[in-house]
């Protein structure tokens, strides 16, 4: 046994209202730069739908992830090392900008400079790639809320095999939202595809990062990732990806997407896993066994032997303690309601999802039946095969049994809690019918419905005793070079983004220290004074959400109120 710690996330899809706040704040924090206009480290897809980039799940086309060979060993689906090097001059599976979407802005100048005319002037859309006029045909979210679903959603790769059963008529359809970030896999195929070895998994917390100094722009990671969550910065010529907001995680605050999630549907915490068994679990023969295999390599932090081994492996005691309190571990392994996204890619993804019961509930409600009655819900789960099969295609490689079991637990929780809320005696046959007891069902309810900030986000801080070490993590600071945040529109002597690096973390560190030592909450006032010395000049009027803890409003988020402050 070789325990390693992994920072993981669980998203409770029942609570996602598809507001895209996570996407927007993530973009604001990380990809609000030239070269990254088309990039969303976090995006929210409507399912059924094509996703972003379009049909990324169709691995027959994109060839991402791993595949099990006849001899039981794993190989990259797009080919081994020699094939990678042979196709390095032109990656045959690289999505083009048109597969994401061509980013654009509007020509606002015409609005401002237009003389008085009979008709309103129009701000025409301009492509951010060519600078020319653009006819907008697609975006990261074109099929949001099943928009144009007859044309688009029917091409969803996950509908393969059930396409004739899925209805897109308004009354009979179902949908839910799927927020996606990088999966920070245990067996990342992006890292395996990188010819330069620039993508690495941090051994402390398992966060997968791109070393910007080592990346040479070979583009193999983009096609290697089956989730298409590595993006090519077309100005700097380097790969960039979701960083799990590591500068925040290191100091114990949640990622921007989690922090700003309106539905509070994200959970962050550690899991311990057995690094010796990752490959074995990723190589099980039957796709349907992958979910169980992936669950089984996660170690139980309450087991004294695991803790002994973890300590021996150098995992600090407070991290082991955090792993015991981890909501993620509870949802995955104690209650077994969280499922991995596409385990069949064999990358061992570490962002887990609680599948949504709401498509089922909605159907019952529409028929006029009691949608909180256990029998109605169970019967509906059994008869409404379409949502279940569809969810199984997403989360369990098509095996409906685990999805069924999760939905039943959620249904049982619903009806069990109704009795309690109405002051009736709780019916213990309900938890028994899904193999749980009343107390754990109640605990699960608490975690899913009531859990407060520090229960949802259990994040042990990184062990860096000296502040200056935080300041100079230059090899890991992917984004603060020229061309990084705060450097928009500037060009070094050898093309976009070349030149000496500006160590980053100076800015983050100063702001954090300021926030942590301030007497008041980091509201508008304190942030303003802090902004003057650390943020303002460096950010050039833009906004840094990396250090925002959700309290107050950071400076620059809203225009100033009082007129005399206006310049």
């Amino acid at each position: 046994m070789r325990p390693m710690a992994q920072m993981a996330m669980v998203m409770n899809l029942d609570k996602c209202i598809g507001c895209h706040t996570c996407s927007v704040t993530c973009k604001q924090a990380w990809t609000n730069r030239s070269g990254m206009e088309y990039v969303w480290f976090n995006n929210v897809e409507t399912r059924p739908g094509l996703g972003y980039p379009r049909t990324y799940e169709d691995q027959d086309t994109w060839q991402g992830g791993w595949v099990r060979k006849g001899n039981g060993r794993l190989t990259l689906r797009s080919g081994g090392r020699w094939k990678k090097l042979a196709t390095i001059f032109s990656n045959p599976k690289l999505p083009g900008i048109e597969d994401y979407y061509e980013p654009w802005t509007y020509d606002y100048e015409t609005l401002l400079n237009s003389p008085a005319t009979q008709t309103f002037p129009v701000a025409t859309p301009k492509s951010l790639i060519t600078g020319k006029d653009i006819n907008i045909r697609w975006s990261a979210n074109w099929d949001d809320d099943l928009g144009g679903s007859l044309e688009h959603a029917t091409r969803d790769p996950m509908l393969k095999g059930i396409e004739d059963k899925v209805k897109f008529e308004f009354e009979q359809t179902f949908m839910f939202y799927l927020p996606r970030i990088c999966e920070h896999c245990l067996n990342p195929s992006c890292a395996a595809s990188c010819p330069s070895g620039a993508i690495y998994k941090r051994s402390e917390d398992g966060i997968v990062l791109v070393d910007q100094d080592k990346c040479r722009g070979w583009r193999m990671c983009v096609s290697g990732c089956p989730y298409k969550k590595i993006y090519f910065n077309h100005r700097t010529g380097k790969a960039e990806k979701c960083t799990f907001c590591y500068p925040r995680i290191e100091v114990g605050i949640p990622t921007v997407c989690s922090e700003t999630c309106v539905g509070r549907l994200r959970y962050l915490g550690l899991v311990l896993y057995d690094a010796d068994r990752v490959l074995e679990a990723a190589s099980v023969e039957n796709d349907h066994d992958l979910y169980e295999a992936q669950r089984s390599i996660l170690l139980d932090p309450d087991d004294p032997e695991v803790r002994r081994e973890a300590e021996r492996a150098g995992i600090p005691a407070d991290w082991i303690e955090a792993a015991r309190r981890s909501p993620v571990h509870k949802l995955i392994n104690t209650y077994k309601v969280a499922l991995p996204l596409h385990p069949e890619y064999r990358t061992m993804p570490m962002v887990w999802y609680i599948p949504p019961l709401s498509p089922v509930v909605d159907v019952i409600k529409d028929t006029g039946h009691d949608a909180e009655d256990r029998h109605n819900l169970f019967a509906a789960i059994d008869t409404l095969r379409i949502p279940v099969e569809y969810l199984a295609n997403l989360f369990t490689a098509g095996d409906t049994a685990p999805v069924d079991s999760v939905l039943r637990k959620l249904a049982a929780m619903r009806s069990y809690m109704r009795d309690i809320n109405l002051g009736r005696d709780p019916d213990d046959s309900i938890p028994e019918s899904v193999g749980m007891d009343g107390e754990s069902l109640y605990e699960m309810f608490r975690l899913l419905a009531l859990a407060k900030y520090d229960e949802r986000y259990v994040i042990p801080t990184a062990h860096v005793e000296q502040a200056h070490a935080l300041e100079e993590l230059a090899t890991e600071c992917a984004l603060d070079y020229d061309g990084g945040p705060g450097m928009m529109g500037e060009s070094g002597p050898f093309g976009e983004g070349s030149g000496e690096l500006t160590p980053v973390a100076v800015e983050n560190f100063q702001m954090l220290k300021q926030r942590q030592t301030a007497d008041s909450m980091s509201g508008a006032r304190s942030a303003e004074s802090g902004g003057e010395d650390s943020g303002r000049g460096r950010l050039r009027g833009r906004l840094n959400l990396l250090n925002w803890d959700g309290k107050g409003s950071p400076t620059g988020l809203f225009p100033k109120r009082s007129p005399e402050e206006d310049e």
């Binding site: 045959p92 060519t130 998994k201 402390e204 040479r216 077309h234 700097t236 993590l473």
Partner: protein, 241 residues
Amino acid sequence: MDTFLWVVFPYICLAVFVVGHYWRWTYDKFGWTTRSSQLYENRLLRWGSPLFHFGMLGVIGGHVIGLIIPKSWTEAVGVSQELYHFLAVSLGGVAGLATVVGLAILVYRRRTVGPVFMATTRMDKTMYALLAAVILLGLWNTVASSIFGHYDYREGVSPWFRSIFTLQPDASLIADAPIGFRLHALLAFALFALWPFTRLVHVFSAPIGYLTRPYIVYRSRDEAREGSRAPQRGWEKAGRP
């Protein structure tokens, strides 16, 4: 004049080449990239880029054999002058042709595809012009030397080239080579001088190590604690993360 062109100038260029790369590596690791434009356009690149690059690999291999290996060595292993010439012209011609066709496609693409042209820097344009000139001259030499009058560069250019590296430069060896060869050599050295300041630096990042390194790279955040300089090797053996 001959001394300047065939002794001083090459040394200046080589010095710029070496020092320039060292400087670029320390100053601008972030800018050290292929700066691929495949994201913008793939239809032309799919043909042009492999043609050019594989052709180029052949061309470089040919130059290594032609310039570095003395004539006496190949003759010692029984490669006659005729056989050598036939191989050089045929294989070199094929590689050269692939390179030129690839280059033509890529230059056409760079000029006509809007986003690609917009992403082209002044340095790129200079480099493209120089590189194209060197390649075209090289191909011309191969063709011309076999059609009109014969010039055995292995008696003139190659010893001169080697003499530079043995620090006993002898300008007289190349001084009476045909003009095509002399221009090719001069421009090639000019290209060497420009090299460290262009995207050509990606040649030295050819990811050979990929063949032997473990698939998954683990790295500790502690490694960065020493300072801002990256550790020499970006990965550890999979056995000890």
